[in-house]
Subunit: 340 residues, 2 copies
DNA sequence: TGATAAAATGGAAGCGCTTTCATTTTTCGG
DNA sequence: CCGAAAAATGAAAGCGCTTCCATTTTATCA
């Protein structure tokens, strides 16, 4: 029976193999393999002849076969919650840039903040035998963890700080971000403090840091609104409405992301509150739009791209046998604008 | 010699293979293969026994080997210019969702609007023998095209409209977008018309549609500022400054993206112009922030996610041997807000 | 120029799976 | 309870490459 037809194209799928090239060049397959992977081991004439034939025939090596034989796929997988939320997208870009430069490719998995999906993705990804894998966060299902450690490949957990990574981690302490924001707002002095936003583990860490640091000063209010991750503009707007409806004096709010903070800010303005005197709002992420809101949004900046870059480097270093420090910390800072 | 150490993990890389499972279950490898891929062909008892052993051993099939033997990788690749610009990120999400549901995975390539890089990515991707590939745009290097068509796999070009796709396309006519915007602004009547923005092929198409439709009414002014793709907030701000400095009556501006339009809008407000009376600005993309700028941004909305969804469907249909219409059009519409 | 080391090349085996085709087992109507 | 058809299973080959080791060729030095 003929080979399966694929697509609607006339089936002319590059059936040229390394063996074909070898035959055409009058050398053995091994030599062609070397010409491609370790050209320095091939005599210049031979090399050139082989390269000419490769170019002429349009030969594209089969990395499935190569990977199977060599146990190296030059594939690195990354699982992030989402890619449309900018926040992870930039890390992906940094990651990808670094990987491509070293001849690796990126296999992407989107978990949508769902641990079960993360597990399934992990299994599917591991089946492709990537040379390394990057996960978001430090909380994973037990099954995911054992599968991962059993696979014996470099692992990087990003976006979080932990003393005990699965293997290696690149990120920062979300708790400390909360503390920093609390201190910043405390110093300015407000009557009430509140936190609004998402419910993913990292957002909750930031909240805890915020709450605990403020514990001696005032209780931190939380709006009574269900929010999932990622939280939205309208979540923020509603949340602030509710907080303001409760009455009371000046209010300082820490939003779990710039998006939710922007919503809150919009509600404050709509109600004619003065910022940052009556209401102060501080976001997280320093998104593109943060400098351009009205009033401009004070927020916490993280070098998101660097997270990806460092994650890639950790993996590449491990693959070349170098030592890698298990926890690489990424800095953060408050960007002071007009909203707080 | 011992196998190469990978990562810093104790090397215990799942050395359990399908053959091991077969041995443990007392069946032949073929039967295990069937238990995994076509369980309906295996007797219930046998199936259950095999599944138990797979679970117990933590066996993860090797898709490299499987793909090599079956010539199906369950891998779909996508090349987009960038993923941090929201605009493509959402298409990627739609694409991924559809693929994952059918057991496929996404291999991502970022070209950065660079055709040469697109070519290199294409080569690297084809080497992994994906079952289908998605490219952005309809302009590719000749070499890319021939490599692609020679590979004999389903191809989808997204984000653009064309009567002659490489294989299949999902998108819309950027030229028509320009025409629509021109008509919208013409109907409101302005003294001057201008276009500002990026220089990628699609942005230029939109510009051409805009210019040509307005040709009978007025010449379209272009600022004298170099802009690359993607264009930025400050590009827009500068561009509008230059246009306003030229003097003249009321001005209507079409920005190549909401980002650049937002910059223009900010400049207009900073100069105290009334919108949309003195200055009208219309963007493209309906980004998250568009409803929340001050004044809110009138723009063109495209269902970006749907582009990804349809692209995935085209490929999946082709793979299952169904006919697919070569050009799937995605609609667009003007979202009227306060800026125009 | 011959011996020796270094550089180039090749043969054979096998990575872990699926395919094809053959064989065995089960089912079922008469 | 037999024979034919259907269901279940298996043997062998091979997907396209890399690895290890052996062999051949070339360069180098005394």
């Amino acid at each position: 029976m003929a080979r399966r037809e694929r697509g609607g194209q006339p089936e002319q799928s590059s059936p040229v193999t390394l063996a074909d090239i070898a035959k055409l060049a009058g050398v053995s397959p091994v030599t062609v393999s070397r010409a491609i992977n370790t050209p320095s081991l091939v005599k210049p004439n031979t090399l050139e002849a082989i390269q000419r034939i490769i170019a002429r025939t349009g030969y594209v090596p089969n990395l499935l076969a190569g990977g199977l034989a060599s146990r190296r796929t030059r594939l690195v997988a990354a699982i992030v919650p989402s890619v449309s939320s900018t926040i992870f997208a930039e890390a992906i870009e940094g990651l990808n840039a670094e990987l491509v430069a070293e001849g690796y490719q990126l296999l992407l998995g989107l978990s949508g903040y769902d641990h079960q999906r993360e597990l399934e993705l992990t299994r599917a990804i591991l089946a492709r035998r990537p040379d390394g894998i990057i996960l978001t966060g430090i909380t994973h299902l037990k099954e995911t963890r054992s599968m991962l450690t059993g696979a014996g490949l470099p692992i990087v957990e990003i976006w979080d700080s932990t003393p005990s990574p699965l293997d290696t981690a690149v990120g920062f302490s979300h708790y400390d971000v909360g503390v920093l924001v609390a201190e910043y707002l405390m110093a300015k002095g407000y009557d009430r403090y509140a936190q609004i936003g998402a419910n993913d583990p990292r957002a909750l860490q930031r909240r805890d840091g915020f709450i605990n640091r403020l514990a001696s000063v005032a209780p931190v209010e939380l709006p009574d609104i269900e929010m999932n991750s990622p939280s939205t503009f309208s979540d923020g707007r509603q949340a602030l409405a509710q907080l303001l409806d409760r009455g009371g004096g000046s209010l300082a709010v820490f939003g779990s992301s710039d998006v939710v903070a922007h919503g809150a800010l919009t509600e404050a303005i709509a109600r004619g509150r003065r910022m940052p005197e009556d209401v102060a709002i501080i976001g997280f992420g320093d998104f593109d739009f943060a400098p351009h809101t009205y009033p401009s949004l004070t927020t916490v900046r993280i070098d998101r791209r660097m997270i990806g870059t460092q994650a890639a480097r950790s993996i590449l270093r491990k693959l070349s046998g170098e030592e890698v420090e298990p926890m690489i910390k990424i800095g953060f800072e408050i960007v002071v604008r007009h909203s707080a």
